[in-house]
Every structure is written in structure tokens, then in C-alpha cells.
């Protein structure tokens, strides 16, 4: 079970991170404002990065096909999470959510 998770962990972490950032924008912004939303973004991103780094580290040494694929997916996931987070730095938060 844990191995299976490890193998698909990277894309799943990306998907969850993406969903949290997108979903929270409406919910958090309309109730608690942009500060709280910024905290959510930061927290979710750190958590996702932690998972991804863990996946990458624990599969880096593997030689089997599945491990190598999981490793590469981990790197892709890292790229994906960073790309997703980029707009949060550039676009003002909570604009147009009223």
C-alpha cells in the first residue's frame, strides 16, 4: 500500500496541492481575507514540496523500472507544484472573489 502510494505520490501531491490552492481561493478569501489565503498557499505548498522531496529521495537510489519512473514523476511533480505556485506571487490575492 505504502509502495503504491510512493509510486503515484508525486502526481497525487501535485493534484491535491492544485485543488487546495484553487478551492481555497473562494472559500478562504470570502471569509477570512487574503492574509489567511496566503497562509493556506504557503502551507499547502510546503506540505506538497515535503511530500515530493520525500518521494524523490526515497526513489533516487532505486534501480527498478517502477522506482525510476516514480523518481522522474517526483521531479515532474516538483516542477508542477512550483509552476502552480508562481501565479500566487504575481497576481494579487482575493481579487474578484467578492
Amino acid at each position: 500500500m505504502f509502495r503504491t502510494f510512493l509510486r503515484l505520490g508525486a502526481p497525487l501531491a501535485w493534484a491535491l496541492h492544485f485543488l487546495v490552492l484553487y478551492g481555497a481561493e473562494f472559500l478562504v478569501c470570502s471569509r477570512w481575507g487574503s492574509q489567511a489565503y496566503a497562509a493556506v498557499v504557503a502551507g499547502a505548498t510546503l506540505a506538497a514540496l515535503a511530500v515530493l522531496v520525500f518521494v524523490v529521495r526515497s526513489t533516487a537510489a532505486g534501480t527498478g523500472f517502477v522506482d525510476r519512473v516514480a523518481f522522474a514523476l517526483g521531479l515532474m511533480g516538483l516542477g508542477g507544484v512550483l509552476a502552480t505556485t508562481m501565479p500566487a506571487f504575481m497576481i494579487p490575492m482575493c481579487v474578484g472573489t467578492a
Binding site: 516542477g79 509552476a83 508562481m86 501565479p87 504575481m90 497576481i91 494579487p92 481579487v95 474578484g96
Partner: protein, 311 residues
């Protein structure tokens, strides 16, 4: 490559920013396409050294991963910057506010004059040059999309939602736009014109626009007005100053002054007015106005004369 309705003829700041972005994108795309085609060429017909280089997994990683990531990250940053410039700058305090409501298949337009009184019009939006104009976009039925490429990108009009769009016209002129979201039947025939006027001209126009309809001048016009009222036109159309106060179709108080009719798809000539009254379902199938074949030829021209006199 400019037309009446082209994103390559930017006349407003947002459209200009997007046109610049487009130029960067086109050049970039041309470069990348050239690289790919060249790589393909060398892969098939190049020297063996070139082919060995291309065949290495490293080439795949550099060309297929590293290069796209770098290029796309830069592009994304640029795109986000343009977006920020469009959405994050508040409208000026003297901004003009105009309500535009999409209906199947025309545009209801409402201005507010100095006293906050609502002045309704249709299918032709007049704006002052150089001033921020904030459009409040709504829909009365299905989803429409407001799009005047020379001024800005499009924004949808969605039932139950209110969207806004800020536009500024840099110079006087007529900018054509068109509904960009498929809205059923005559979607193709739902256009509009934005007429940008110098500030002073706009002010006097708005003052005139808010007044009551001009009175029927001659005998024919008077007869036309009576026919207009007796035939029930006023149940759907309003002409301020008469008992025609319908809210279903476009307000006709200044119909004679408009450049076009039928949502900017027909020049506002008397022939076209007459054709639309009698045969509107043929000119614009499915539109809400039934054909009024109840008039004799003279009666019809009297009605048209009256409408044309409403300037």
C-alpha cells in the same frame, strides 16, 4: 492586417498589451517551430555526428524538458504580468459606468446621467475618448460574451452573475464588436458598435440622449406614430415621451440616430427598417419580434418615417 474588428488594431491599453504579447508569442512560436523542423531535418538527413548528438537521451532532456521549462516559465511570468496590469489596476474615479445586458440577440445598453437617471439604448455604445469606462455585463437569458477586439479582450455575460470590463478608447472612432459565446439561433447576427467621441461631444450627446423623444414633425410622422401605438409596438418597445413603454425589445427613443439596426447587422436605412418590421424573421431568424404584415404600404412608410425621425 487590420479590420474593423481586429485584435491587431489596438485602440485601448488592454488591447495594446495583448497585441504586444501576441507579437512575442508569434515570434517565439516561429523560432520553436523552426528548431523542431530543423532538428527533424538533421535527424533524417544530417551528418552522422549531428545525428549521434540528436539521438542521445541528453538531447531529449535538453530539448524536451529543460528548454520548454525555461521558455514556458518566462512566458508564464510575462503573461501573468500582463494579466496583473489588466485586472489589478482600479478604474479612475471619474470613470463612466455603462450597463450592458446581453439578450437573444441584441444588447441592452443603459447609461446614467448626472442625476443618476437611467437612460436606455441598444446595440450602440457611445463612450468618451480617454476616460475609463467600466462596463457592467449581465445576461437576460443565455450566456453571451462581450467582445470589442480593438478595445479589450472578451468577457462573458452569464445569467445570475455580474462581470465588469474596463475599457478606454485612445482615439475617436467606431469599433465593431460581436457576441463571442454561442447563444443559439442568430448568434452570428449579434454585433454592436462602440462609438468613441471626444469628451465635449460626448457630454452634449449624453444630454440629448437623456431627453424625451423628438416630437413627430410632419403629418406622415404623426400618422406613423399613431400607427406605431395602435399596432401594439409599444408593448415591447419604449419611446420616451409617448405611451410606448415596453421593456421587451430595444428602446427606440433615438432609433433614427443609430448607425445600424438589428444589433449592428444592417445599416439603418428606411428600406432596412421597413424590411425588419415586415420580415424581421427572415433577416434574423428566431428573434423575438413577430413580423408585422398588418400595415399597408403607405402605413408602413409612415411608421418608418416616424422611426427615422427619432433622432
Amino acid at each position: 492586417m487590420t479590420g474593423l474588428q481586429s485584435m491587431f488594431a489596438p485602440m485601448g491599453p488592454e488591447a495594446a498589451l495583448i497585441a504586444d504579447l501576441a507579437a512575442v508569442l508569434f515570434v517565439g512560436a516561429a523560432v520553436v517551430l523552426t528548431i523542431v523542423v530543423a532538428a527533424l531535418w538533421f535527424a533524417m538527413l544530417g551528418s552522422s555526428a549531428a545525428r549521434r548528438g540528436l539521438a542521445a537521451e541528453r538531447a531529449v532532456i535538453v530539448g524536451g524538458i529543460v528548454f520548454p521549462i525555461v521558455a514556458l516559465a518566462a512566458l508564464l511570468a510575462y503573461g501573468l504580468w500582463v494579466m496583473r496590469a489588466s485586472v489589478a489596476s482600479p478604474a479612475a474615479s471619474n470613470a463612466m459606468r455603462i450597463e450592458v445586458t446581453g439578450e437573444q440577440w441584441w444588447w441592452r445598453v443603459a447609461y446614467r446621467d448626472g442625476d443618476g437617471r437611467r437612460i436606455e439604448s441598444a446595440n450602440e455604445i457611445r463612450i468618451p475618448v480617454g476616460r475609463d469606462v467600466v462596463l457592467t455585463l449581465r445576461s437576460a437569458d443565455v450566456i453571451h460574451s462581450f467582445w470589442v477586439p480593438s478595445l479589450a479582450g472578451k468577457v462573458d455575460m452569464i445569467p445570475g452573475r455580474v462581470n465588469t470590463l474596463k475599457i478606454v478608447a485612445k482615439q475617436p472612432g467606431v469599433y465593431r464588436g460581436q457576441c463571442a459565446e454561442y447563444c443559439g439561433g442568430a448568434h452570428a447576427l449579434m454585433a454592436l458598435e462602440v462609438v468613441a467621441l471626444p469628451e465635449a461631444e460626448f457630454a452634449s450627446w449624453l444630454a440629448a440622449e437623456g431627453a424625451q423623444a423628438t416630437d413627430a414633425a410632419g403629418e406622415t410622422e404623426r400618422q406613423g406614430r399613431e400607427l406605431f401605438l395602435a399596432a401594439g409596438c409599444g408593448a415591447c418597445h419604449a419611446i420616451r415621451g409617448t405611451r410606448a413603454d415596453g421593456r421587451i425589445g430595444p428602446d427606440l427613443t433615438r432609433v433614427g440616430a443609430r448607425r445600424q439596426i438589428a444589433a449592428a447587422t444592417l445599416p439603418a436605412t428606411r428600406e432596412n427598417l421597413a424590411r425588419f418590421i415586415v420580415d424581421g424573421q427572415h433577416l434574423k431568424p428566431g428573434n423575438g419580434m413577430p413580423p408585422f404584415r398588418v400595415f399597408s404600404a403607405e402605413e408602413l412608410s409612415a411608421v418608418v418615417a416616424y422611426l427615422a425621425s427619432l433622432k
